[in-house]
Amino acid sequence: MEFSRQSSSPRPISLIPMINVVFLLLSFFLIAGQIGGSRTGGVELPLSSQPRDPLGEGVVLTLLANGQILVDDEAVKPERVAVRVVEKQGRADVPLLVQADKQADGAVLVRLLAALEAEGVAHVALLTEGF
């Protein structure tokens, strides 16, 4: 019995499906991700197990673990925070997003929020990390 001999030249790999998949992955990473550090800029947000509202836009107040306070990435003294936030907000309906490090002192955060409330800042939201 005679077997047909297979040709010795290898079959060329079809590149088109591979390119399709690679482009698909590329588009996914472009759309779904953010390059480099996330928007929180290295602040470790507290983890929350409850479903919360999606993140919106607004003036960002950062409370670092060492107690330093930043308003839109600009260091501000604790006594000047409320005034600076009101200046940044311009209009009163711009929400204030507070990103406090999970190791930061809760009492400092509450004092800060109370000072903001006294200054008339109405919409304050605390950022958390979902699971």
Partner: protein, 130 residues
Amino acid sequence: MEIPRNERRISAGVAMTSLVDLTFLLMIFFMVTTTFSSAQQVDMAVSAKARAGAVSEDNLLVRLEERQILLGGAVQSPEKLRKAVRDALAKEPEATVTLAVGKKVAVQFVIEVMDLVNGAGATKVVLSEP
């Protein structure tokens, strides 16, 4: 005069190899540098007035000290707090839970207690100074 036709055909296809190289390079770059954020926001209410004496009977005052939950001066377990919140809501569905944040309390612990209180059904949670 007849021009002799070149028998060898030159392929006019696109050079795929460089395209694939570049695409892979881009893909690896995005895979390495991309971070996925799942940040969410919790609308906060702070009440400087909601101190110990000012909290009415229908509302619940919870003190936080270090990693302890204090209810009526006694340290309570998370389960006890959950039950206390449910009892308060059964009496007054619009009850406000005030979290008085004391010294040496990390923000993470405040959020954990807020999760617990929200999980028990309370929608109005207020932070206050001790």
